[in-house]
Symmetry: C2
Subunit: 450 residues, 2 copies
């Protein structure tokens, strides 16, 4: 598929050079929107503008919404107000609202005034919800039926109204107050006898989510119950819209990227293709913060300059104690944050996880401490050096396990993202306490080490 | 939903104490399979056995396949051969094959002999493909039609055959050689005029995947084209089965967990609820390997014992140079591995990514090196110490950026997982070269530092 796109891209570049924009649009129109977006996304600004301004709105909207969010904003700012509002008219309302939320206030306001009034109403309604909630993720339309209808009547009704709805996954059954009372899958509707009543084939125990719920909770429900779409309701069980599984797939990928990035001290928005200066400006504050904590660790070492000056070998072993603590802490942190993200760790079992990671830290400290002690004894010929390293490793890996599990659990309980900043706090802990334990013990046994 | 399950669990525990297993089964039967699995999964082995052995196979299969893979194996080994083979008869073939693949050879072989013969054939066919390929992920059945049929005839045909198929997402159109020639969504079928011909409403440009393709590629296609299901074909375009979006959601979550774990030096299988001894045994080899590389870094420090002995302050600044290099490398590594995982980094643009990360490393090295130099100068009053730190930080962060991007790209090009082992290699690089640069430069300028 990728190779095919590259061949098409070459053709399109040739056609653009010959200024045959209409031909380019004809070629793009025959592709899947995702492929057309991939190709248009790799063209320069001027050609993107030329294409989107002459393309039929329904087709350009399909391709436009497959672009990366950053590219969407760049192109939208570049197009005439008329061209972008025609695209917006044809986009699913959830994607349109996400785009409007990302534009500057003035442009957003002008755009909302120039789209069709029912589109404006839908977008404004969605903008009330945060981009990261079920409400922000939903398409504010659902295929609904009443329960006193036969399967055949329902199919006829669908045939009449379906062309207006982007995709049908389930049909939701509502009462006269627009409250959700059941769900029928398209499959169940088709295989039911033509005369079966909707109320008899529907499932009255509908899985739903409230509009204000977080997108992670929404994703978990769809994943747990293997759903294609999840109905979104308000506090009184009125049906507001549906979140579809393809949006949730994006959420799961985004949340995973966010976790990996936050554990490494990066912000969510950075991409492998971001410009150097953008990446630098996003990473440097974090690195300066890291530098501050590194100075903290180094000032702990400073407390023991005298001991190091009498036994220089201590400096040789410092990286081992600190490094192993950092690694142990990172392992405990990865298991704990992932457990929280996947919903496997209930907060009530936090104490159990803390105890477990402390115990594992202790066991790893014993094992690697023993190896370190033996190597140090054979290398430097001093049994007390071995003893000091053994004890320091046990203490530091215990602290690593406890902080690696405890800090994300604590952050989560305080309402913060458990991945954000955990890494830096834990490395600071293991550096500071690692040096304190190792150099403190060495100072205590100093006369045996010289 | 969670609270509801806890209330039900209490009721079930009471019923189990009173040995009313039939009542328990009645309660479980009214739940969504995912909820029933959550509850059964938290019971002890004996009760799990009692429930699964008396439960109707179709219901127990639905709950069974929602259990974690590890729990499935434990329970399967515990049940009578008869009970587990009845469950297997009712499970979708892809899940059944995954379970059989995880069981011991003897048990697996006995099971395959005791299930229905068509189930055995299906499972054996799937076992040919790796668990992590499209073939291993697919359900070996698809709803197919021929193209010379009207929409109405197609719906009648579906009504006749659909009860045998787990879920219908798309209807695939095949020719007389069982080759894939088109696809029709259920929605398009329903909204088409009753007399429309399938060949006129089908999309002949089907997105498909070969059975031997990796599960990551499969997930990327479903995600890119927003599909509900992806047809799987052999080398001659014969339709073999379909991979559904709910399986892909699990793949995306698993791959993200795998990446996070591998970056932290953990194996995929570990969970927050794994027993302490399991976790310890899985983590300790990695930590011993880490210890080896830590000794490598420490032996670099050992080369400069004399310099440290004349200027003990060097020991104080060692953690800063090494720590900042490690952090910078981790940032570059996270961006690069995630870019590879999400398909944003083509191997052809690897050199560009390498250059970018090197440049960012240089810029961060300049910034944080300057800060470190100024702080060191004010703290210790020696301008040469500042200069040495400045240069060492630039060198180390350049190396951090280059290795953070270069090592995963190299691993990927050599056909390995880019996340596996990258972290440990990069930390070793930044430790070894960080100490070498800092202590080497310090030794060169030694007479100005004393």
């Amino acid at each position: 598929m990728k190779e095919r796109n590259e061949v098409i891209l070459k053709t399109i570049n040739r056609l653009l050079k010959e200024e045959k924009t209409e031909r380019v649009i004809a070629v793009l129109g025959r592709l899947y929107p995702a492929d057309a977006a991939e190709i248009v996304g790799s063209l320069d600004e001027e050609h993107q503008k030329a294409i989107f301004e002459r393309w039929a709105p329904d087709q350009s909207a399909s391709a436009f919404l497959e672009l990366e969010e950053g590219d969407q904003v760049d192109i939208a700012e570049n197009l005439t107000l008329n061209a972008i509002s025609e695209i917006l008219n044809e986009m699913p309302a959830d994607d349109a609202a996400d785009l409007v939320a990302d534009l500057s206030g003035d442009l957003a306001e002008n755009l909302l005034k120039s789209v069709r009034s029912e589109v404006e109403t839908e977008i404004r309604a969605l903008l009330k919800y945060g981009e990261d909630t079920a409400g922000g993720l939903m398409i504010p339309e659902a295929v609904t039926l009443k329960k006193n209808m036969t399967a055949e009547e329902a199919i006829d009704e669908l045939r009449r109204m379906a062309p207006n709805v982007e995709s049908i996954y389930y049909i939701f059954v509502i009462n006269d107050e627009n409250q959700l009372v059941g769900v029928v899958s398209l499959r169940d509707l088709i295989i039911a006898p033509a005369s079966a009543m909707i109320k008899d084939i529907m499932n009255p125990d509908v899985i739903y989510v409230e509009a204000t719920a977080d997108q992670e909770e929404t994703a978990k429900l769809i994943s747990k119950y293997d759903l294609l779409a999840l109905p979104v309701v308000d506090g009184d069980n009125h049906l507001l819209g549906v979140v579809t599984v393809d949006d949730v797939l994006d959420v799961v990928e985004d949340e995973a990227t966010e976790d990996i990035y936050r554990l490494a001290g990066l912000t969510k928005e950075e991409k492998i293709a971001s410009p150097v200066m953008d990446s630098f400006l996003k990473r440097v504050p974090w690195m300066v913060l890291n530098l501050g904590t590194a100075f903290l660790a180094s000032s702990v070492v400073g407390l023991f300059e005298e001991s190091i000056s009498s036994v220089v070998t201590l400096a040789v072993f410092m990286p081992i104690v600190a490094g192993m603590g950092g690694n142990g802490g990172t392992q405990a942190l990865a298991v704990t944050t992932r457990g929280i993200a996947l919903g496997e760790l209930e907060l009530s079992s936090g104490l159990k996880a803390l105890f477990k990671e402390g115990l594992i830290g202790l066991m790893i400290g014993l094992t690697t401490g023993l190896i370190t002690a033996i190597v140090a004894f054979y290398w430097k010929g001093n049994v007390f050096l071995g003893l000091v390293l053994f004890l320091a490793m046990i203490i530091n890996l215990l602290i690593a396990g406890l902080s690696g599990a405890g800090i994300p659990i604590l952050l989560k309980r305080l309402g913060y993202d458990p991945a954000l900043g955990s890494g830096i706090i834990i490395t600071t802990f293991t550096d500071v306490f690692g040096f304190l334990a190792f150099l403190g013990l060495a100072t205590f046994f100093l006369k045996y080490l010289i």
